[in-house]
Amino acid sequence: MMNREPEQYTTGEVLAPPTERYTVLGWLKKNLFSTWYYTLLTLVTIYILYIVLKPTLIWAFTQAQWQVVVVNLRLFMVGQYPADQVFRIWIALHLLALTAGLAWAIWLPRSRRTGAFLLLIPLALAALPFISSFSRINWILFAVFALAGWGLGTWKPQAMRRPLLALLLAYFPILILLILGVQPILKIVKTNLWGGLLLTMLLAVVGIAVSFPLGILLALGRKSELPIVKFFSIIYIEFIRGVPLVTVLFMAELMLPLFLPPQIVIDNVIRAMAGIILFEAAYMAENVRGGLQAIPTGQYEAAWALGLNGFQTTFFIILPQALRNVIPVLVNQFISLFKDTTLVAIVGLLDLLGIASAVLAQPEFLGKQREVYVFIALIYWVFSYAMSYASRRLEVALGVGER
């Protein structure tokens, strides 16, 4: 018979490939003690860990005086931002929680991990023993807002898509308005009072958000066939890459006023941001160019054959593939940008590192540099690791490396 199918395909169950399951001991035996040299390596490693970790832990839990961090926690977080205005930063955070909750429900409805991040981390922070009750309430509120966003999103996933996009687009302007203030309603807080983690995050987020599109344009410019565009892109990229970031910041902060007419006073923080953006855009451009070069010519030809014009080819065919290829490099760049923001400390902005140095000069906490530096190192690590973790999830979601 022509259409007779083999029986095993219609009725047979498709079995999952066998997974390996071990008991704890079995896992240990397989991974740590399978041969005599593995055993030796394991023992040596354990010994090294022991001699390194023991004094560290003893120091952290018995000798270290964390009072310096506890007392100055607000300084580390928001710098000299006035205490009676800190609620504005909390409002911004709650709005972020709401947005993230919505995004969780609409885009990743099955991701338990996202939910755990959004709910457990703020609750864990609220449970910290040394924070003020105001912060405690606000962290709980943060979790509540995240949950509310999730609820809204699950209740009406279709209707909530537009508000979510609007929130995402409007978030950054709202954030800046909240932090800076709007004259009649919210008191203006001048940028020289912004500091600590707040300033670090702002510099990093603005740096990433603005230098990324700028870098893409520069990369496209460098690949362009228009000679002037190409020439200037190359000059710009090569000039900036030949100058250290410190120098760019120093120029922006201290030399720029020399070239401007006296009526024009550009804000300190804006100048630092501009310096960082201009600098990072050049590096971003080269990263993106790497991705562009990896796209085979066949893709361009196929796009032309379909009748797409140059703009459509670039933005719908080439860039999505090119950017997908360079995610690890871009995230690497973002992480290094995040840490490079510490350089603004040398041009008189009190970012996280700058405020740490100022705290260390308080007479009552002289000589507490270990506690302070360990604390800010932990903060930098948490954010850098979060970025690299997010990028790994993004790669999995986009199927990078599985083509």
Partner: protein, 371 residues
């Protein structure tokens, strides 16, 4: 082909020139070369930009509504940020005194934290109105940098701290010793000069930051540590066993620290000078922030009456209101109050007044008469 070579060469030349310029400005302001480049740029391209000329700074400050004061944000006792986010310290109090004299309100100050490297550039470009950041008055800085140094507020000097049990008593005992010092400071150079003058062999152990210098000394990585005496005294309190360490009775250098202003505005220079002198004078007269109102109500002494603005037009001669000195004393305090608040017996530093006593007590603080 030849076109391409032209492009490449052109780019390289432009880049080279720009890099040379940037490189210079990024370097330490101690290097006279770098500083000259900066100044040439100031005069050639931005001369009209910075407030200069008689009276221009005061006018700019009054129009702006607040003073911009360049300070140190990380020097214990002199400039730091307290846990409420307010600037505190000896130098910071002088910024407040200046604001009190100009506006009658010590809070009308915006602080610009500055590093040692950028402080003079910030002053030259007009980013700040006055630099009060533990800056040593030297001939080179007074002339080459286009700056003027106002009256010294703090007489410091470089000293050496050793462990008591090391048996080191004088400079010569340091033969072959390892000495911890912060890099890139005049401290390092003074040490080299003094040791060369006395023909003593030693090994400098240099670190980038003060925290590292004292950490290394405390862990026994060097036999001695050198820096300004005020810093030695304050840092001694943070060592494991402060009493086991002794500061030698030698002074390697003179370090007069005081406010700095731009050259070219003599009125502003006078104001900063006389604000410092007013704090000295307050102490000489025994007028403090507590008793100033009593004194003002009851005094018959014509000198005090001129000082507090009851007669004469002293403030107007400076371009200020006549109660300028009263405001300084009332709102910030006299020299002794400023000193004791930041460095005195009630602070962890407990720094003896020494040279920083009034001339009446054998110190160097001597204010010209206000009349």
């Amino acid at each position: 082909m030849s076109k391409r070579i032209f492009y490449v060469l052109g780019v390289l030349v432009v880049l080279g020139m720009l890099l040379a310029a940037c490189g210079n400005s990024g370097q330490s302001s101690n290097a006279p070369q770098a500083v000259k480049t900066v100044i040439v740029t100031v005069q050639a391209k931005g001369g009209s930009n910075t407030p200069s000329g008689y009276g221009a700074t005061l006018k700019a400050v009054k129009e702006r509504g607040h003073l911009i004061c360049g300070v140190n944000s990380e020097l214990p006792g002199f400039g730091y940020v307290d846990d409420q986010g307010n600037y505190k310290g000896f130098d910071v109090d002088y910024c407040h005194a200046l604001a009190a004299a100009i506006f009658g309100d010590p809070s009308k100050v915006e602080f610009r934290p500055l590093t040692a490297k950028e402080r003079f550039t910030a002053l030259q470009t007009g980013e700040i109105d006055v630099l009060i950041r533990n800056t040593t008055w030297t001939l080179t800085r007074d002339t080459d940098l286009g700056t003027n140094f106002a009256a010294t507020t703090f007489y410091d000097g470089q000293g050496i701290m050793v462990r008591k049990d090391s048996g080191i008593k004088k400079l010569e005992d340091l033969e072959g010793a390892k000495i911890c010092v912060a890099t890139g400071t005049t401290t390092e150079l003074n040490l080299a000069d003094q040791m060369a003058a006395h023909n003593i062999d030693y090994t400098p152990v240099v670190y980038e930051k003060a925290d590292q210098v004292y950490g290394a000394y405390d862990e026994g990585r060097c036999d001695a540590v050198t820096s300004d005496r005020s810093q030695l005294v304050s840092r001694r309190t943070t060592l494991k066993n402060p009493a086991d360490n002794v500061i030698l009775d030698v002074t390697l250098s003179k370090e007069p620290l005081g406010p700095v202003v731009r050259q070219g505005d003599d009125q502003w220079f006078d104001i900063v000078n006389w604000v410092v002198f007013a704090t000295f004078t307050g102490e000489e007269f025994g007028i403090t922030s507590k008793n100033v109102d009593d004194v003002k109500a009851n005094t018959k002494n014509p000198n005090i009456r001129k000082f507090l603005g009851l007669e004469g037009e002293m403030g107007q001669k400076l371009g200020l209101s006549n109660d300028w000195a009263y405001n300084i004393i009332k709102m910030v305090g006299n020299y002794a109050e400023i000193y004791n608040r930041n460095l005195g017996p009630d602070t962890p530093f407990n720094l003896p007044r020494g040279l920083n006593s009034s001339w009446k007590d054998g110190g160097l603080l001597y204010a010209p008469p206000i009349r």
